[in-house]
């Protein structure tokens, strides 16, 4: 039995994939001796060498753009963007270039590139470090968007990402990095994309979330149980591809639903979930669907983030209201 937290699971996945496949390399800011600002790449430089664990200039567009070229040359780059908010400096290289290269070359080229990017609130980061901008990449056809919520999934989804022939944006919930350990076995295993998972079963309401918001939903479900409300929690795991079947099935069963995410409300991926449910689960719904999200305002300074993020209290209140509607 090997217990690992999210960070250790990611580090272990990288190490094992680099050992298995000499084409796999890691590049980004401070990924070398420091092992990344969160230490996700700790020890990789010492074990796999400076040719495959590369500190790059502080320039996100070229980290992503060079990864595209590296992939075409035959390497398998795993690029780290230090924080998802800084994908703004690489946005034009992600969707329009990485995402479209297979299509724009009519399949001659594909980009086996993983972009790892920590994100999310609750750790009092400086400005731009916490922004949950995952939905921006859902509007970038060709990119897969992966949002692990726990250590076991973090490893299996990362190995799947590295082996996927297409580009993957792998968003890491930094708040959960060291929150606790769970069984994460040694040796490679993969979790397929496009498979949502029911992480808690209940009868009265379905909470749909991804990444760190899953943890909030599980805490909320525990409290709701104390009030006699039994909640299902669905971890969407990957926004692209999106597992419509599991989400629709879970919501159809309870007839009530709250969608929770850290991104701002308007046009967040929650809007896509709700629109899908409106067309595919309409006749099974017993109450309007609610969304608990961050507000449509810029991510605030650290002392304010408690009021900004979708707190457990807000999830409980929305679920209570929906369950009794």
């Amino acid at each position: 039995m090997t217990q690992r937290n999210v960070l250790e699971a990611i580090n272990n996945a990288l190490d094992e994939e680099m050992s298995r496949d000499p084409r796999v390399m890691v590049l980004g800011l401070d990924v070398g001796k420091l092992g990344g600002v969160f230490r996700a790449t700790s020890g990789l430089l010492e074990k796999h060498g400076a040719q495959r664990v590369v500190d790059t200039p502080l320039a996100e567009a070229s980290i992503v753009g060079a990864s595209l070229g590296l992939a075409i040359s035959g390497m398998v780059p795993v690029a780290e963007i230090q924080f998802l908010g800084f994908t703004a400096q690489a946005f034009h290289q992600i969707g329009p270039q990485l995402g479209r290269y297979r299509a724009r070359s009519r399949g001659r080229y594909h980009c086996q590139v993983t972009i790892r990017a920590p994100f999310g609130g609750g750790i009092h980061s400086p400005e731009f470090h916490s922004d949950a901008v995952e939905a921006q990449f859902v509007q970038s056809p060709g990119i897969k968007v992966v949002m692990p919520s726990n250590a076991y999934d973090a490893k299996g989804l990362l190995i799947e990402a590295i082996r996927d022939p297409d580009p993957v944006l792998y968003c890491e919930p930094d708040r959960l990095y060291r929150l606790g350990r769970m069984e994460v076995p040694d040796g490679a295993y993969t979790i397929p994309f496009g498979k949502a998972v029911i992480v808690r079963e209940g009868d009265d309401i379905t909470l749909v979330a991804w990444s760190a918001a899953v943890e909030s939903c599980l805490l909320a479900a525990e409290r709701l149980a104390g009030e006699g409300i039994s909640a299902t929690v669905v971890d969407v795991r990957t926004l692209v591809p999106f597992d419509v079947e599991t989400v629709v099935g879970a919501v159809a069963k309870t007839g009530r639903c709250v969608v929770v995410h850290e991104a701002p409300l308007s046009a967040g991926f929650g809007a896509e979930v709700v629109a899908t449910l409106a067309s595919e689960a309409f006749y099974d719904l017993d109450a309007p669907i609610k969304r608990v999200t961050s507000w449509d305002v810029p991510y605030p300074a650290a002392p304010l983030e408690g009021w900004y993020l979708p707190s457990v209290e807000r999830v409980v209140a929305a679920a209570r209201e929906t369950a009794r509607d």
């Binding site: 790059t56 320039a59 297979r102 299509a103 009519r106």
Partner: protein, 351 residues
């Protein structure tokens, strides 16, 4: 200030003391490529005016830059990462002209696909994004100990993009085997070169990235070839990147939607045509008894026949089908996209 490398004067005489960088046979080959570029420009532009070709950007006036740089490469092991005005470089590198023409003529099907084994990346119109790609490609080839060099193209306009800086900077740090070929054609659509940068020479910028910058007369195919060959050799020897500023002039419109009469002083065009890259080679070869009117006519006729055959083949390729919208998006189409594809084909008006 960087000295501008020049070997062949506009009047067809060698610069005093300069030696030709090509043998006569290679120069005649270069001339043929340049003629093909110009004849293709004329044909494609005419077809565009008839509605048979998409928006087209001619290389008119820049043939020496395009051809001289590409001829420094070995198509078997080297790579081209183009911008979009280097069509004949791609053909010389092995991309069949009919496939490039097919793309221009809207046959954006498998016909337009870059054939396997042709070391060319797709054209790029999100300017300068190709430079980090080229840096990464060169870096990766070096990591795999391949004996390859990457030639990538950008313009005076594209050099203002942030990716220009990021791409060159990273290539310098990694000493990647890449040549950055900047065609300074004096225009970014209607925006003149002086608006792009206060630098007296784009080549000077290389100093900021720790590798050499070279300025060449971009209408002089011998000078372009000489600079490009040297840069390719440096890269192959593990000495890292070079920035080449090829000073040329766009002797036509930016593309077929453009109207230079709204912003270009006709005098500039006249000056440029006196510096025409093709004329000077013809003068040089004629002076040396290697070219005459008969040879000129024969070569033009054979090039025309080759271009026309390519255009004919291109027009015969299958047209697009709506189903191809869903091809080559991912290795495996996700369920959600499969459903969208079914929706498209169930709609009789579109399928």
């Amino acid at each position: 200030m960087t000295a501008r490398l020049s070997i062949l004067e506009p009047d067809g005489k060698l610069v005093a003391g300069a030696k030709p960088s090509m043998t006569d046979a290679v120069l005649i080959e270069a001339l043929r490529w340049m003629l093909m570029s110009r004849i293709y420009d004329e044909r494609a532009t005419a077809l565009q005016r008839q509605g048979l070709y998409g928006v087209f950007s001619p290389a008119f006036g820049q043939e020496a830059s395009v051809v001289g740089s590409a001829m420094a490469l070995d198509p078997v092991r080297d790579w081209i990462v183009p911008q979009y005005r280097e069509l004949m470089a791609l053909v010389r590198h092995g991309y069949p002209l009919e496939r490039l023409a097919a793309m221009g003529m809207g046959r954006v099907t498998e016909a337009a696909r870059i054939p396997d084994g042709v070391n060319v990346l797709p054209n790029q119109v999100a300017l300068a994004t190709q430079l980090p790609h080229a840096a990464g490609l060169a870096w990766g080839l070096k990591l795999q100990k391949k004996d390859s060099v990457v030639m990538t193209y950008v313009g005076d306009g594209g050099s203002s993009e942030g990716d220009f800086h990021e791409g060159l900077n990273l290539a310098g740090v990694q000493r990647a085997p890449v040549v950055f070929f900047l065609s300074n054609n004096q225009w970014a659509i209607s925006t003149p070169r002086r608006v792009q940068s206060a630098t007296p020479s784009f080549a000077l910028r290389a100093a900021g990235y720790g590798f050499p910058g070279v300025e060449v007369d971009g209408n002089d195919v011998l000078a372009v070839y000489s600079a490009a060959t040297e840069a390719v050799e440096r890269a192959r020897a593990g000495e890292g990147p070079t920035l080449i500023e090829s000073v040329t002039y766009r002797m036509s419109f930016h593309n077929t939607t453009d109207n230079p009469s709204l912003y270009e002083d006709p005098k500039q065009r006249d000056d440029a045509s006196r510096r025409d890259p093709i004329d000077r080679v013809v003068r040089y070869l004629t002076r040396r008894g290697l070219w005459d009117e008969q040879r000129n006519n024969e070569t033009r006729a054979s090039v025309r026949a080759e271009v026309d055959a390519a255009l004919e083949k291109a027009a015969a390729f299958p047209v697009v089908t709506p189903q191809q919208l869903f091809e080559h998006i991912y290795a495996e189409l996700p369920e959600r996209l499969r459903r969208q594809r079914e929706e498209l084909s169930s709609d009789g008006s579109q399928a």
